[in-house]
């Protein structure tokens, strides 16, 4: 009988359910979409921040003082310490290896004699990787280089191929080099003096210019070549000076601010197993002994601060969305019950108790809430995909964890929304309601 009453109500008068159902579907869709995006956004934003470039800098520990001005090291090549290129694969073996998005070694060779067809001049040569495959000890290969750590560098023409005798000229250098430099031309670089001593003759290495780079910093005034050639010119095979690492990190909190040595074993484990910039640099120092790993403070700090601000803002907005969804569902449920006061009057007139009336209405609302919530979840997942791809360029995957949360929320607000008018209806005398007063 009870089931029939409820069933008939849906079959006989579906129009009345439309408003509540629409509010439920829409409200829960918005709740699902905002929650999905809020859960996803920390990771996405952290990835976006990597467009700022590297946030860790690795240098040799026992080094002489670098003479770096505007990004170029002016130390002579036979001074100071170097790091080994062959160790770099180990970076992908640390605990947070998946958070290492990329790394690029640099070897600056200042003051190299160069000549083109008729002209000659001295240039700063920078050896680096554009897209280089690094062998990782576990047998795989990891592709990394400037394209990951310095994404804002633009090129007219194309970048040098790894291992080919090609070079890219900085924008400013291309203009000021005697006679100018254009794409397709060949530039000869002279090997270092130590090499000449060794072989008893000066050697010139030819490089084909493949592009003109615009970097916005000192590299605009230099010549970029594949790392292996810079090593050959400076006679430092397999070595480099500086390594820029771009790592996904978690904003620093109270635990990250403490000195790792003062932590208790459990705290230490928690610190080690969180992708803080301090724990990642500690892990890098462990696999690359003899190095100094510093967080590039302006990048790392700004990133942490802005990320935590954006996520607080987003959670507040999500909360507002949830409140708005609850209000909308509550208001429509209340409207439906008010609209059906006549029915309540009839039921009560023919002897239904308040409890029975309430349970019939609440069952109806609950069924609507479950159906509407489920439909809303599906719609919300679609909405989150659209939102994810329009804001971050890749869709946010649906999270099934949210389904019970959304269903529960839908049921709760629909029940609260209809309970209030039902309580009021309980006090009414059936007679005046039936008379239409």
């Amino acid at each position: 009988m009870f089931a029939r009453l409820v069933g008939e109500s849906f079959v006989r008068n579906p129009r009345r359910k439309v408003l509540t159902a629409a509010a439920l579907v829409l409200g829960m869709a918005v709740a699902t979409a905002t929650l999905t995006v809020a859960l996803e956004v920390g990771d996405r934003m952290a990835r976006e921040f990597r467009s700022l470039g590297a946030n860790l800098l690795v240098t040799p520990k026992s080094d002489t003082l670098p003479l770096e001005i505007g990004g170029v090291d002016y130390r002579p090549v036979d001074e100071g310490a170097y790091l080994n290129e062959s160790d770099l694969g180990k970076l992908k073996t640390i605990f947070w290896r998946h958070n290492i998005l990329g790394f690029t070694p640099f070897l600056d060779v200042p003051d190299v004699f160069s000549s083109s067809h008729q002209n000659a001049g001295r240039v700063t040569v920078i050896g680096t990787w554009y897209e280089h495959e690094v062998p990782v000890p576990d047998g795989t290969r990891f592709k990394t280089g400037l394209s990951v750590t310095h994404p804002w560098w633009t090129i007219q023409g194309r970048w040098f191929r790894d291992g080919a005798p090609e070079c890219v000229i900085g924008k400013t250098l291309a203009q000021k080099y005697p006679g100018g430099i254009s794409i397709g031309q060949t530039i000869y670089l002279q090997m270092e003096v130590s090499d000449a001593r060794r072989y008893g003759a000066m050697r010139l290495l030819p490089f084909v210019v493949t592009g003109i780079a615009s970097t916005g910093s000192a590299e605009d005034d230099a010549m970029l070549v594949p790392l292996s050639f810079a090593q050959e010119i400076s006679y430092h095979p397999g070595q480099f000076r500086q390594l820029f690492v771009s790592a996904l990190t978690k904003p620093a909190d109270a635990l990250a601010a403490r000195d790792p040595k003062s932590l208790t074993p459990t705290e230490y484990d928690r610190w080690f197993c969180s992708p803080y910039i301090s724990s990642i640099s500690y892990q890098i120092e462990q696999v690359l002994p003899g190095t100094d790993v510093h967080a590039i403070r302006k990048v790392a700090d700004s990133e942490g601060r802005i990320l935590s601000r954006i996520s607080t803002l987003l959670w507040i907005v999500t909360l507002a969305a949830l409140i708005a969804a609850a209000l909308a569902v509550g208001a429509t449920s209340a409207a439906t019950v008010i609209e059906r006061r006549g029915e309540i009057g009839i039921m009560k007139a023919i002897g239904a108790t308040n409890a029975l009336v309430n349970s019939i209405f609440l069952t109806e609302q609950l069924m609507l809430a479950v159906a509407g919530g489920a439909a809303g979840f599906v719609l919300g997942a679609v909405l989150a995909r659209v939102l994810g791809s329009s804001v971050f360029g890749s869709p946010a995957p649906p999270r099934l964890v949210l389904l019970p949360v959304v269903l529960g929320l839908a049921a709760l607000v629909a029940l609260i929304g209809s309970l209030i008018p039902l309580r009021r209806a309980a006090h009414f005398d059936p007679a005046p309601i039936l008379r239409g007063e």
Partner: protein, 387 residues
Amino acid sequence: MFGRIVWKMLRGGKGRIFVALLAVTSGAAVISALLNVQFDMQHRLAEEFRTLGANIVIAPASGGEASGLGGPSASTGATVPILLNETAIGSALEANRSPDVVASAPFLFAIAHVEQTPVVLAGTWADQIPRLNPTWKLDGQWIDSRTDESLCLVGRTVARQFQLSPGSNVTLNYIGRTARLHVAGIIDSGTAEDDQVFVNLPVVQGLIGTTNGVGLWQLSVSGTSANIGAYAARLAAALPAASVRPIREVTEAEGNLLHRTRLLIASMVALILVLTALCVLATMAALAMERREDVGLMKALGGSIARIVSLFLAEVSVLGAAGGLIGCIIGILLAQWMGQRVFDTSIAPRWEIFPLTIAMMVVVALAGALPLRLLGKVKPAVILRGE
């Protein structure tokens, strides 16, 4: 008469009106708070990004940032340092003053020697250093004058190399000239600045023998990447002899992130707007339904449908406007709280939100009362019988 009926209707069903008003008010509060934050967010986030440091560099037109470099590469004759004129740039910057310029400082680099070891010496306006680089950590004290010639700040690596601490003295040699300096503080930047010694500009100018030359000029400008680009273009027009360029890694990433964050929040705010409108709509529709009997009675008494409907619409607009106004006031307070919570500063109330929100609430409330028009077509007898 019209006004009196509307007034009586509002006074009449106190409970129902209160519920409707509550719905409109809470909707308006949420909308106005979010709109306020949305309007102010770009500005606040742009300020946050200033922790990234300088984003515009003025350098000599030909030659890179290394200009002004004495030492190894100059000695080999590779680059003859080209210097900028300090007074020319200073007056151009003065002529293009903008409240968006957070910090501005000239730089002149030289390679000096400390006990035979070469070290990069950076001459600048020392009082601007903390503003230009808010993330640098300091052990000791900043130098708060730009004319003082006895103090210096040293990078972490330099301090470690020469065992310097705040309060100790260091002597710099530059081809025969010397400068004795007192270490005011030790800088931790995580970048190449850890290997440098910072002094006021006159010290370096005195060492390398120039009176008015600077190597480059750094500016930290707040705003969107378009604003920063426009400011750089204005400076470039004023300084034809120099190259003015935005530091791309900073401005581009900044622009991108600002854009994405704004897009994200804006789309969520739009969704919330739709929901709130729906909530107000439902409440108003319920209110209209309850008025069915009144409509029937008025029609039976001979009122024209247009007049009856306009009566109800007037009632609903008053509700919408009143709810919108109260909601806006609450919303602006809410936005202040959100500002404190998210950005640690209060958010400037935007007054244009008032008309916007109130208009929106009135429109939504009117839309909610639309079912009344359909009811107008029903025969009064049927409604009065309660069917």
